[in-house]
């Protein structure tokens, strides 16, 4: 945090100094100071144009055949998990190739250009013209950036052609496979044999292809939960954690778990503790005498060294338990000591036949009452106050390949409960504030569902998902429908407008969508973005262009850094420095993590227990090293920001706001480097 502040101050001072010193040169960029002199911008463009020619004559165009060759080879080599994932995989490959080629080329060219001008003394002739030093470096930066832009546009066009060809092939193959399966199905039906129906997803893939730029709203991070059961009440939804299942309730104490001063030094039974309160409800039989929960607590950022405990709930006392972790220093942040940041506590129930009620926190507008939370954390034994977790804890279900599974009824359950089996539910909560600009057509808005299926039994029948929708403004008014699941393809479900929560967009409540698997022996396989509120799609080509622009921003920033450093340094050192900036800027997360872990702990040595003087010395030395590294990192632009794939590989349209945000950051990152370059070249002797 401090290093970030210092780094920002350094950048701000540099920028201020630049603005002060370069005021005249900056004004010349837009002024016509005398007859026979245009604006500085026209001179910048003249230099840029020559730089563009430099890139061209340096055979930068070779990048295009190289990209085509590399793309064709790699596209032939990669194999998707599923045909519908082929296009996203191809997009990933195509963009990765472009990114590598463009960054490598312009890293070299931009670092070499100015030193070469100095070496061949062309800069002497240039500087004898009415050209300011600022215009020289801006011209270089602009020229290479324009060259990168043009190359990226051509590479984008070739990528698009490759994707069109690939999509055509995918569609043809899917159509052929569907036709074969349909014939087989008809034949088997004629022969009165049990037959699997032809895959509808293949038919849709053949019809629709994969080149989309979909626009939709998803639930925010942690806005999806899988729970064992739900109960609807006039005030909202009550969620239950199913005993004996894989469900885990996740509670977050943010921004940290506060401990009282000195409360960590007492012995066991004297230190801070967690208090659990889970109202227990039976599932068809009496509550068993022992209800066991398993809890873990860990720092949310690193997730290293989780502390675990199995506890028995005191059912008579309303389902309570108490836990004092062994290493409170790892979880609680005590004044003057390390800030452990956000803490995550997870709870699962091992006892079959019970439901634990999830308490969502204080109802909207009500005062915070500790009784409204499942977990409280006492900062010390004597403190009258508690740390409370964030409201609406997330509940995760059984996970497979990063997907959450929602089980349909089992044969055993059906035999036992008939039609009243309490089914697992996936709950998606769309915040009311996100519902302001939802397009409505014929009194309906569109909910789209993208679900996968795992079939444990009954492979021959289709999976049916039960969808239940309500708005928190009127929780008792439900909209139910059943949707056949078509794997890998989106299913559109029109929902009446009233479920958006009334005509006034400012007063809309959260929209809650619940999904259940209604087919015996089947599982719905879901992601956070499996339920979406659909908006009209955008052009795929335009989306491709936007992703190319993200690559361009990244390349332009690297070019600016390279040119700035090459003003004074020779090209090898300029290249090395620029590469260091790029690498460090791409490793921000990693460095922040090791800095946060501190000293020897970052190397995997446990921080707990007694250590010798040598260990302590090394620990302090390394902690200092990580801090210095952290400071240097804070001075570098965050290159992780440039991810052209984040939307397009999901076939999702990139919002323009995202593009402009990246553009804004690029300008912010670039300005100090332009200032640095100018300050270095301003008084440089060019003879």
């Amino acid at each position: 945090m401090i290093s970030s502040l210092i780094a920002m101050s350094v950048a701000a001072v540099l920028l201020l100094l630049f603005l002060l010193v370069a005021a005249r040169d900056l004004s010349m960029l837009v002024r016509h100071p005398a007859r026979g002199m245009g604006t500085g911008i026209s001179r910048v463009w003249a230099v840029a144009r020559t730089t563009l020619l430099e890139a061209w004559t340096s055979r930068a165009w070779m990048l295009i055949p190289l990209q085509i060759l590399a793309s064709v080879v790699l596209l032939l080599a990669v194999r998707p998990f599923d045909e519908s994932e082929r296009i996203p995989l191809y997009i990933r490959v195509l963009f990765t190739i472009q990114e590598i080629l463009i960054l490598l080329l312009f890293w070299v060219m931009a670092s070499v250009s100015l030193p070469r001008d100095r070496f061949f003394k062309t800069i002497v002739t240039n500087a004898s013209k009415p050209l300011s030093r600022l215009e020289i470096i801006l011209g270089k930066m602009t020229g290479f950036s324009v060259a990168a832009f043009l190359l990226l546009m051509v590479m984008g066009a070739t990528s698009w052609v490759m994707l069109l060809v690939a999509d055509h092939q995918v569609r043809s193959n899917a159509a052929a496979e569907y036709a074969l399966a349909a014939d087989d199905f008809k034949q088997k039906e004629k022969d009165l044999k049990q037959a699997v129906p032809p895959p509808e997803n293949k038919k849709l893939l053949a019809e629709q292809g994969s080149l989309f730029a979909l626009n939709y709203i998803t639930v925010p991070k942690d806005g999806m939960s899988i729970v064992g059961n739900v109960q609807t009440t006039p005030t909202g939804l009550i969620r239950y954690l199913k005993g004996g299942s894989s469900e885990i309730a996740i509670y977050r104490f943010s921004p940290q778990l506060q401990g009282d001063p000195g409360a960590d030094v007492g012995g066991p039974g004297e230190r801070p503790f967690f208090y659990f309160h889970f109202p227990v409800e039976p599932w068809g039989r009496n509550i068993p005498p022992r209800v066991v929960i398993h809890v873990t607590a860990v720092r949310a950022k690193q997730r290293l060294r989780p502390q675990e405990k199995t506890l028995v709930l005191n059912v008579q006392d309303g389902g309570t338990a108490l836990w004092e972790p062994e290493n409170v220093d790892e979880l609680f942040s005590f004044p003057g000591e390390r800030d452990n940041g956000e803490i995550e506590v997870t709870v699962s129930c091992a006892t079959d036949g019970v439901f634990l009620r999830i308490l969502d926190g204080a109802p909207k507008g009500a005062a915070t009452d500790p009784q409204d939370f499942n977990i409280l954390a006492a900062p010390s034994r004597s403190s009258p106050r508690f740390n409370i977790p964030l409201p609406n804890p997330r509940v995760r279900g059984f996970e497979r390949r990063d997907r959450q599974q929602v089980s349909g009824p089992t044969k055993k359950e059906m035999e036992k409960w008939g039609g009243n089996v309490p089914l697992e539910v996936a709950i998606y909560r769309f915040p009311g504030k996100d519902l302001a600009k939802i397009p409505v057509d014929n009194g309906n808005f569109n909910l789209s569902l993208l679900m996968d299926v795992d079939k444990e039994s009954n492979p021959e029948i289709d999976t049916i998902a039960g969808v239940e929708v309500y708005n928190e403004n009127s929780p008792t008014d439900r909209y139910d429908l059943e949707v056949p699941v078509i794997e890998k393809r989106t299913t559109i479900a029109p929902i009446p407008e009233k479920y958006l929560g009334g005509p006034d967009p400012a007063k809309r409540g959260d929209l809650v969508v619940m999904l259940r698997c209604q087919t015996m022996g089947h599982w719905l396989s879901l992601l956070d973005n499996s339920v979406r509120i659909e908006k009209p799609p955008s052009s795929f080509v335009f989306n491709l262009f936007k992703s190319e622009l993200i690559l361009f921003f990244e390349a332009a920033l690297l070019i600016i850094i390279c040119v700035a450093w090459s003003v004074r340094l020779g090209w090898p050192v300029a290249m090395l420095t620029a590469a260091t900036f790029f690498c460090l800027g791409s490793m921000r997360g990693f460095i922040a993590d090791i800095q946060d872990l501190g000293g020897m702990a970052a190397l995997g040595f446990p921080p707990m227990g007694e250590h010798g003087a040598g260990y302590n010395f090394l620990d302090k030395l390394l902690a200092g090293t990580w801090d210095i590294l952290g400071f240097i990192i804070a001075l570098t632009p965050d290159f992780r920001r440039y991810d052209p794939l984040v939307f397009i590989t999901q076939l999702r349209n990139m919002p323009l706001a995202n593009l402009f945000l990246d553009l804004g950051w690029t300008v912010l990152y670039a300005l100090p480097f332009i200032g640095l370059g100018y300050l270095m070249i301003r008084k440089q002797e060019l003879g």
């Binding site: 002199m37 003249a46 061949f120 062309t122």
Partner: protein
């Protein structure tokens, strides 16, 4: 030209010391240079290698920073961006982009002077013809040019903006005698057009032929300064030249001179200079080539 009474160049106690680093010693390249170049004259800056000629020019252009003293060019401090629009500079070597051809090079520099497309095209053609660059090579990269060809493009870029002050650093360096003669004629043309020319060279004959005034630098200091005529006049030597002088007349003249007590008499036949012989030979050859192939040439 804003004010014709202001000198084109004026330096006062201009000093440049290149600082030493580590084991290398500092070098005084220029010391207290006081120089005035009036508008419309051709001024020669002479001196042996390392005397400070190029350093003076770089200081006047603002390419390097003075250690002390001041320099004004066309009435403004040296290095002023706006003043540079009225300057033309031919460096001692041709420092041009090797990847551009002649037209592209001039187009780049013309853009820096805010010329529109028509002006640029006109100026490029005019100056390429003016410096005599063979049209066949104008679209070839400068990296492939001979030294003389590159030098011509360098001169064209220096004149492209029709400058008031032209600074030529070793303009005849690397040129054959014929091109040298053309260059000297060109410098004289510039004077006729009212331009000021600062010329640095150690080709003394060239300077003598074209300069109005000269100064000789030695180790960064001015040793001699003045008009060429006044500096080169040898007042106690008298010279007569004539064609077809019969031998008996030659003998009589010698006798007469001896009688009058004239010393250090150097009689002899006038020899042509090698330079003149070379020029005559090449010009005759070229004329013959043209006559033999009247329709060839061009692009």
């Amino acid at each position: 030209m804003s004010n014709p009474t202001i000198p084109a160049i004026e330096t006062r106690a201009l000093t440049k010391i290149y600082p030493g680093f580590w084991s290398s010693q500092s070098v005084t390249a220029l010391q207290d240079l006081n120089l005035t170049v009036q508008r419309g004259e051709i001024f020669g800056l002479l001196g042996p290698n390392g005397s400070g000629k190029t350093t003076t020019i770089k200081l006047l252009l603002g390419l390097i920073n003075a250690t002390s003293g001041t320099a004004e060019v066309l009435g403004k401090p040296s290095g002023d961006q706006i003043t540079r629009r009225s300057l033309g500079y031919l460096p001692e070597e041709t420092y041009l982009y090797r990847f551009l051809n002649a037209r592209q090079t001039l187009d780049f520099y013309a853009r820096l002077f805010n010329m529109n497309r028509a002006q640029r095209n006109r100026a490029i053609e005019y100056y390429l013809d003016f410096v005599g660059l063979d049209p066949a090579v104008r679209r070839r990269r400068i990296g492939t040019y001979s030294k003389g060809q590159a030098r011509r493009v360098g001169l064209a870029q220096a004149l492209l903006n029709d400058p008031d002050l032209v600074i030529l650093d070793e303009p005849t360096s690397g040129l054959d005698p014929l091109a040298t003669m053309e260059m000297k004629n060109l410098i004289k043309e510039l004077k006729k057009a009212g331009k000021t020319v600062l010329l640095s060279s150690h080709q003394l004959a060239d300077v003598e032929d074209v300069c109005d005034r000269i100064c000789i630098l030695y180790r960064g200091k001015i040793e001699v300064q003045g008009t060429v005529d006044s500096l080169l006049e040898v007042k106690d030597v008298y010279k007569i030249e004539g064609r077809n002088v019969p031998p008996d007349v030659q003998a009589k003249m010698l006798a007469l001179l001896k009688e009058a007590g004239v010393t250090e008499i150097q009689p002899g036949v006038q020899r042509s200079r090698l330079e003149d012989l070379f020029k005559r030979m090449v010009l005759e050859k070229r004329a013959a080539e043209r006559a033999a192939a009247p329709k060839q040439g061009g692009r």
